[in-house]
């Protein structure tokens, strides 16, 4: 029977009965990724959660002490954390018009210029390619109230440059301005990529149907940029905090009087400036919750708005 079956089924390999058996190969292929994710993502996640309920000052000789939710209470009650939360919300709200909406008219303008727009695209994209540390040093010099470049320019017309980075009222705005300047070209590029999805015939068709440039922008380009806009919006909300870590650390260290810190920088402040590992971990867990909420909103928005191919 077996011999017969083998002979008959020799040419029908896929039809021959096959025993379910453990396949090691797929897991072997996945192993490096699982290992890396485990070591660098999931283990730190769990360990942070553990650290957030302990008290420790980074000193290996000092024992780690369990303190329950005391760190969370301390962090939530602290002026530093509420300043960080407030600055984060302000930064996000101000970033949306500056980094998400403002690049759209620039992209449309460059797009409408065709190949002549390439020079502007390149110029706008340049800041994206420079290291943010170098950018921060350059801006530190430009904005210096004592003989900085901007000070020289303004004093030639009789205006005294205020110390933008060392005043609580202007420091956060300055940081947001620098981070906008840095990311702007990249977002313009993303919108330009989104615009290439719009066939030129659609614009011709709208024009024949009687649409003015304004109507084409509102009724065709804006809705068709929907997926790109949403992507830029989400990445702005999530990455702005991370993005401004470097200029904050280089220019203000979160000050003056907590005016420029944010939810991201504050975890660094707790852990590596105050050496309170538990509070840093607690702030990190709160940041994690905040980002999860953002991610949830993001999925809802995608379902609602990105409804066509």
């Amino acid at each position: 029977m077996t011999a017969l079956a083998q002979g008959d089924l020799a040419g029908l390999g896929s039809l021959a009965p096959r025993r379910q058996r453990f396949e090691a190969a797929p897991y072997l292929y996945l192993a490096p990724l699982i290992l890396l994710l485990g070591i660098f993502t999931f283990w730190p996640l769990l360990h942070t959660a553990y650290l957030s309920v302990t008290s420790w000052n980074l000193n290996p000789g000092v024992p780690v002490r369990y303190v329950g939710i005391a760190n969370y209470e301390d962090v939530i009650d602290s002026d530093l954390f509420s300043a960080a939360l407030w600055n984060t919300v302000v930064t996000i709200l101000v970033s949306i018009p500056l980094k998400v909406l403002l690049p759209i008219p620039f992209a449309v303008f460059i797009w409408s210029m065709g190949s002549r727009g390439e020079i502007y695209r390149t110029v706008l994209f340049l800041p994206t390619m420079i290291s943010f540390v170098a950018v921060s040093v350059a801006w530190l010099w430009i904005l210096s109230p004592l003989g900085g470049y901007l000070d020289l320019v303004l004093s030639s017309v009789g205006i005294k440059l205020p110390p933008l980075l060392t005043r609580a009222e202007t420091a956060l705005g300055t940081i947001i301005g620098i981070s906008t300047w840095k990311i702007f070209g990249f977002h313009v590029l993303l919108f330009l990529a989104g615009l290439t999805r719009i066939p030129h015939r659609l614009i011709d068709a709208m024009r024949i149907d009687g649409a003015s440039d304004g109507v084409i922008l509102r009724r065709l380009i804006w809705p068709m940029l929907g997926p790109t806009t949403l992507f830029v919006l989400i990445s702005t909300v999530i990455f702005t905090m991370q993005q401004v870590f470097t200029p904050i650390d280089m220019l203000t260290k979160g000050g003056p009087s907590n005016a420029t810190t944010n939810l991201f920088y504050v975890t660094y402040q707790y852990t590596f400036m105050n050496f309170s590992v538990g509070q840093g971990a607690a702030a990190t867990v709160l940041l994690f919750v905040f980002l999860m909420i953002v991610a949830l909103v993001k999925f809802r928005l995608f379902d609602r708005f990105v409804h066509y191919r």
Partner: protein
């Protein structure tokens, strides 16, 4: 509805003359097809009529009014694009209503007109779908409805059927034609498909390399091609073109003979349509080189002393095998002659004398 006159219309892209000083008049309510190979300037001409492209020279008149400098949105035209150009983020209803929206038509009237236009092209049940949920034929209908809804004075169609499959193309062809007749719309169709042009249009404009080669009805183009290009372009299978040396101003193919007006010509190109050639007891001797059964008819390739000729035999059985010797006859009425160099058509006078000719004339009448 509008009558259209274009005079000396030109469009150059850099050094390339896409459209080279063409003149054309289209009557009110007429259906005109612009036919030509790709890159002949037919779409550019259409886009200049629509106002999307600005001419580099010449004028476009609608009912005598110069619209050359007028913007597309003010011309009251409808254009169906090859890609249909439906707005992907709008429903079918919103797509069709869009031109009315731009015309500031009141909401109540708008719904009525959308329903009417959708009814004309029979897509009433698709109004709440989005373009990507429709088949190619349905998208085509939506594109037509969006154009018809604004009651344009000129309908422009840019290869509207080229993205449809064969059976749907056939159905849409007659549907568009019926619609155009019923609405009396002045229509310009751009196509590279001669069947599309001949079946739909009242008159056909043949374009080649930015110039108009000939304007006429399908019958005129078929029977009296103005030059070699039109002769070779119109008709399927393509016309046989052979170069002959006239003797005393007379050309002869087998028993068929005709006289040229200009007796001094050393060489002329003679056009013989494959469907006008037939097997005969006497005539031009030849040898079958290839047999191509086409179903209803059989196409034979025959080597003769004047060159390889294709003969389309209306008898669907294969009557002659490859290698067989045959004789070919043609009615002298069906001979066409062209200048070999310039390609211009040459008038021919048929000799009515001789029993062979008379016989072949009788036989040609019996052909379908």
């Amino acid at each position: 509805m509008a009558a259209i006159t274009i005079t000396c219309l030109s469009k150059t892209f850099g050094a390339v003359k896409a459209v080279d000083a063409i003149d054309l008049t289209i009557l009110d309510g007429e259906f005109v097809a612009i036919l030509g190979p790709s890159g002949c300037g037919k779409s550019t001409t259409l886009f200049m009529l629509s106002g999307i492209e600005t001419p580099t020279g010449g004028r476009v008149l609608f009912d005598g009014d110069d619209v050359t400098a007028m913007e597309a949105k003010d011309r009251s035209i409808g254009l169906v694009f090859q890609s249909y150009a439906l707005y992907p983020h709008m429903t079918v209803r919103e797509n069709i209503a869009f031109p009315l929206d731009m015309l500031k038509i009141p909401k109540t009237l708008r719904a009525e007109r959308v329903a009417r236009a959708a009814g004309i092209v029979q897509i009433g049940e698709l109004l709440d779908r989005r373009p990507h949920q429709l088949s190619g034929g349905q998208q085509q209908r939506v594109a037509l409805a969006r154009v018809l809804v604004k009651e344009p004075r000129l309908l422009l169609l840019d290869e509207p059927l080229s993205n449809l499959d064969a059976s749907l193309r056939h159905a849409m062809r007659s549907e568009i034609r019926r619609l155009q007749r019923r609405l009396g719309l002045t229509t310009v169709l751009v196509t590279h498909d001669q069947i599309e042009a001949t079946t739909m249009a009242d008159r056909i404009v043949i374009m080649n390399r930015g110039r108009i080669e000939q304007v006429g009805t399908a019958d005129e183009l078929y029977r009296h091609p103005a030059n070699l290009f039109v002769a070779g372009f119109i008709g399927s299978p393509a016309m046989n073109l052979v170069t002959l040396k006239p003797a005393h101003g007379e050309i002869r193919v087998g028993a068929a003979a005709a006289s040229l007006q200009d007796r001094s010509l050393a060489s002329v190109t003679v056009g013989l349509r494959p469907e006008h050639l037939r097997f005969a007891a006497e005539g031009l001797p030849g040898r079958i080189a290839l047999v191509e059964p086409m179903g209803r008819e059989v196409l034979y390739e025959i080597e003769t002393e004047i060159g390889v000729l294709r003969l389309l035999d209306p008898v669907h059985q294969i009557r002659h095998r490859e290698g067989e010797n045959v004789s070919i006859a043609v009615s002298p009425d069906n001979l066409l002659a062209f200048e070999t160099e310039e390609g211009r058509s040459l008038p021919l006078t048929v000799h009515a004398s001789g029993p062979e000719v008379a016989k072949s004339l009788v036989r040609s009448e019996s052909l379908p």
